[in-house]
C-alpha cells in the first residue's frame, strides 16, 4: 500500500502550491501516471478520501491522465509500446531497452480558487 505515501505526497504538493498561489482550496487536480509507475489505481482511489481529509484537496475533483509505456530498443532502435517492464523488443527480441514513457508519477496542474 505505497499508494497512501503517494497520495500524501500529492497532498503535500497541492498544499504548497495552493499556499504559494494564495488560494483557498483546489477544485480540480490533474495527475499524470504512467502505466509502469507501479501504481494500483484501485488502491489509490481507496486511500484518497483518507489522505485528502482536512486538506485543500478535500473536495477536489481528481483527473488522472494515464500514460502508456513506450520503450526504445537499445540494439535496433525500434520504438514500441510496452505493457510490462519485462516486454522485449518485438523486432529483434532484445531485452535491452530504454523506457521513454510510462514511469511518470506527476502532479500536472491544479485549478485553485
Amino acid at each position: 500500500m505505497h499508494e497512501l505515501s503517494v497520495a500524501l505526497g500529492i497532498v503535500k504538493i497541492a498544499e504548497e502550491e495552493t499556499a504559494k498561489a494564495q488560494a483557498k482550496y483546489v477544485e480540480l487536480i490533474e495527475l499524470e501516471i504512467g502505466a509502469l509507475a507501479g501504481i494500483d489505481f484501485e488502491s489509490l482511489h481507496f486511500v484518497w478520501p483518507a489522505a485528502v481529509k482536512d486538506s485543500v484537496l478535500e473536495n477536489a475533483i481528481k483527473k488522472i491522465n494515464l500514460l502508456e509505456g513506450i520503450a526504445k530498443c537499445v540494439d535496433c532502435d525500434t520504438i514500441f509500446t510496452i505493457n510490462h517492464i519485462y516486454d522485449s523488443c518485438p523486432k529483434c527480441k532484445s531485452n535491452f531497452k530504454g523506457i521513454i514513457q510510462g514511469k511518470e508519477l506527476r502532479v500536472k496542474a491544479l485549478e485553485v480558487v
Partner: protein, 283 residues
Amino acid sequence: MCGTCGCGSGENGVRIQNPKDLLTHEHTHSHIDAQGLVYEHTHDDHSHKHAHTHEHVHEHEQHQRKVIDVEKDILHHNDLMAARNRGLFEAKNIFALNLVSSPGSGKTSILERTLKDLKDTIPFFVIEGDQQTLNDANRISAFDIPVVQINTGKGCHLESDTIYEALKKLDITDHAVLMIENVGNLVCPSMFDLGESKRIVIISTTEGEDKPIKYPDMFHSSDLCIINKIDLLPYVNVNLEKLKQYALKVNPKLEFIEISATTGEGMEVWFTWLKKNRNQPKN
C-alpha cells in the same frame, strides 16, 4: 498523521530505536490558561488531534479560479531526501546497501553471516526495517555492530527521510559499510530510493522461478540478485536457470550470486562482490 500509513497513534507510527539505548520518545505539550498559568503534560500515546474544524467558505459572487501548472514529481520529496543521504554517503566514503526481498527469504540470516565473517576487516553499521519488534536489531546487536531499528508500524517500506533520522542516531564513521535491511516486501520498497550505493534483491529457492516477472519493479531497480537457500535445491522444484532468464528479461544488467547463508556455500563469492564494489570509485 503518519507519513506512510495514515495512522495517528504511537503504537502504529514510525519508531526509530536502538536496542542498546531504548529511550522512550515523549511529546511534551504546554498549555497556557486565561490566568497565564502554564500547564505541561506529556502524551505517550502520540495522538495528534485537530482541535478545530476546517470549513470551506463559499463566496459565490467572486470565484477567482486559477490554473497552476505544477509539473512536479509526486515522489520528489523522497528523491530529494535520498539525494541528501547519497551526498552524505559520498562525503564520508560510505558504501550503502539496500537489501530488499519478500519476508522470509533470508535477509537477516545473510546479514548475520556476513557480519560474523567480515566484521574484523570492515566497519559495519546496520539499519533494520520492520513493521514491528526489535528482534532483528537484537540479532545484529549480538555481534557488537552498531544498529538502529526502524519500526514502520503499518508502513510497508522505508523512506529516505526515515533513513536520514536513523543515520543521525547511528553516528556512522567514515569508510564504513552501511547495510539497510528494508521491510520484507517485494512491491512497495522498489519505488523509494534511500540514497543507497547499490540495491540488492534477495530471492530464495523456495519462492518459485517466476517471481521476477510477477514482481518486476523490484528486480528492475536492483543491481545484484542474491539467490539464497541453495542448500535446499535438492528438495524444491525450482529451475534456477529459468529464474535468471526471467530476471534478465526484467533487468538485463542484473548480476547473480548463489549462496546458502545456513551452510556458508557461495558466501565467499558474495564477500568478493562486496569488497570489489565497495572500493569502486563512485560516478
